[in-house]
Amino acid sequence: MSPLIQLTDVRKIYNLGEVQVEALKGATLTIDRGEFVALIGPSGSGKSTLMNTLGCLDRPTSGSYLLDGQEIVSMTRDQRAKIRNSKIGFVFQNFNLLNRTSAIENVELPMLYSGGISARVRRMRALEMLDKVGLGDRGHHHSSQLSGGQQQRVAIARALVNTPSILMADEPTGNLDSKTSKEVIELFQKLNQEQTITVILVTHDQAVARNATRKIVLRDGEIAIDTTDTQLAQETLNSSQ
């Protein structure tokens, strides 16, 4: 069986007028199903670019990205949108829920864009998902009426409602206190272990990264180290700072 993610010599060059910035300088990477990966690196290291590329939000300048055996680099915007909808779930630092919209409606949103799911089924699945993240009784609350941790759990429910193969989390605990952070990370671990969802976590927080089984440290647009050893990852990170 082919790996879930196969990245080969992926480069990303941003053209800022006269200056060209090379955010990714040829990243090669393989991630299998069921892994829990942390992308670590200081700001400007290219971890956001890598995450956007892996999340099919952005297209690399060159290289190859096979997701589930499908080449993403040559896809159109609409094709990538479809991949994002069906295979990837996003969780963001600032939750990115639609405001003035209830939790249920937020969770229903990805199903709306998949099409062919009746309103009744959408509602049912949204409620089920909210139940799973422990918010079954908060479905009709608007995001402004929920705490940060609750909002992030709604976002996780939204990310998981289309049963994606990858859960991408960009600094998911960045806006949360340490106790809630721990809960969210535990939820990720549970999802990873019980439902074998591949989790890719972008963070600069060592404490968060420790929970991942595999750590990829980025530095100046290159992969500095790819290890399961927390200690080694930390040393590499520290030496680059």
């Binding site: 949108a81 479809k82 069906s86 003035r100």
Partner: protein
């Protein structure tokens, strides 16, 4: 994504920001309402102008008898027109509304101890009020029967009422013309002065047969003129041609021979009328067009602001799988919903405003009698235009929304 879901999303998005939605709708409402009002009032004014011109006789054609040429010798004018010609014109010319013979008379009119010489004394047919578009204020007009029986009845104008009767009711009173008693059976409505200043209400009308037989003691069947009205102003030329053709035929005049009659119409006045109403319509159409464009630009403006304001939302939707066309559709549907609601409200408001405005004009200036016109084509056109404005002016902002880069959009605060 299904259309129904798109509509639902658009509706939810609109309801989330009611104030913005209401303001956008308001812009459309003002545009559409002003169009409907303007066009309705304009049509009302144009109808008023038209009816007033008609009262002056823009659709009237007069046929005079002419001299007959025979063998190069010009003969004295002969009386060539008859009442039968008049009837034939009314019956056989499709562009003709009505026709009446006209016999001139003059003399003094006596009632009690007052007397007066009317400016116009005519013997006419029963269709005279129709030809002149001149309604009666009271009483009735003489009928075909009274004409065939040379009845001694008459209808008088407002000036005669004032001169002879002062405040008394003239109906069924008897006046004398050349010592012949005439019973007043009707009073004409006030017409005012003609374009050259003649008092049109200084008139006495009698059956043309009575004038011929009793006042003039003539046994001739001829009349002094035939007065004809065309069905529409723009049928004047058509009617003139038809009448000429018919009379040439009836009088047995072949091609090449000169006619024994003269057809005179008021095409010049009709042309002026055409220019007046035409430019009025043009002016109103221009104003209406401008207000619609203003309304449309208003929609575009708010939609553009809305797209910018909702960049983040668009980014979130794109990240979780909305395609460009899903976003385009959502914003387009929003624009169409807003403009359609605005259109419906605008048309209703426009109808109400034009009715109110017309009533106000009639109330505030005495004597004004603007017809209340609700222009259905203008209303329907404005509604259709509203939806089109939504699509047209909503398309650009929607397209911009759909082309956003999801990463940029997500980063937007």
């Amino acid at each position: 994504m299904r259309l129904l879901d798109s509509i639902r999303i658009a509706l939810r998005a609109l309801l989330k920001n009611k104030m913005r939605a209401i303001l956008t709708i308001l812009g459309v409402v003002i545009g559409i309402a002003s169009v409907t009002t303007m066009v309705s009032i304009g049509q009302s004014a144009s109808m008023l102008v038209q009816s007033q011109f008609q009262a002056l006789g823009t659709n009237v054609i007069v046929i005079f008898p002419g001299s007959q040429r025979g063998g190069g010798v010009r003969q004295a004018p002969v009386q060539t027109l008859t009442a039968t010609d008049s009837r034939a014109i009314a019956e056989e010319c499709p562009a003709v509304l009505a026709s009446t013979p006209l016999v001139g008379a003059s003399g003094q009119v006596i009632y009690g101890n007052s007397n007066w010489s009317p400016r116009d004394m005519f013997g006419v047919g029963e269709d005279y009020p129709l030809v002149r578009n001149w309604p009666l204020q009271s009483g009735g007009f003489f009928t075909r029967r009274e004409i065939t029986s040379n009845a001694k009845v008459c209808v008088i104008g407002q000036t005669l009422v004032a001169k002879l009767f002062q405040t008394a009711n003239p109906l069924n009173e008897t006046i004398r013309v050349k010592n012949i008693p005439f019973r007043v059976i009707g009073v004409l409505a006030k017409k005012g002065a003609s374009m050259v200043g003649d008092d049109l209400d200084d008139v006495l009308l009698m059956p043309y047969t009575t004038v011929r037989k009793r006042l003039q003691g003539s046994s001739f069947n001829s009349v002094n003129a035939i007065m004809v009205s065309a069905k529409q102003e723009d049928q004047m030329v058509e009617a003139t041609d038809e009448i000429t053709q018919l009379l040439l035929e009836r009088h047995g005049i072949s091609i090449g021979q000169s006619a024994d009659f003269l057809v005179q119409n008021t095409t010049e006045i009709a042309a002026i009328l055409g220019i007046v109403t035409g430019s009025l319509t043009m002016l109103l159409a221009a104003i209406a067009g401008i207000s619609l464009i203003v309304g449309g630009v208003g929609i575009m403006n708010i939609m553009l602001v809305s797209v910018t304001e909702r960049t983040k939302e668009i980014g979130i939707r794109m990240a979780i799988g909305a395609r460009g066309r899903d976003i385009l559709r959502q914003f387009l549907i929003e624009a169409v919903i807003l403009s359609s609601i605005g259109g419906i409200i605008g048309v209703s408001l426009g109808v109400a405003m034009s009715t109110a405005a017309t009533m106000l004009i009639n109330y505030s200036s005495s004597g004004a009698d603007w017809p209340i016109v609700v222009s259905i084509p203008a209303a329907l056109g404005a509604m259709g235009f509203a939806a089109m404005v939504g699509i047209f002016f909503g398309y650009y902002p929607a397209l911009r929304a759909s082309r956003l880069d999801p990463i940029e959009a997500l980063r937007y605060e």
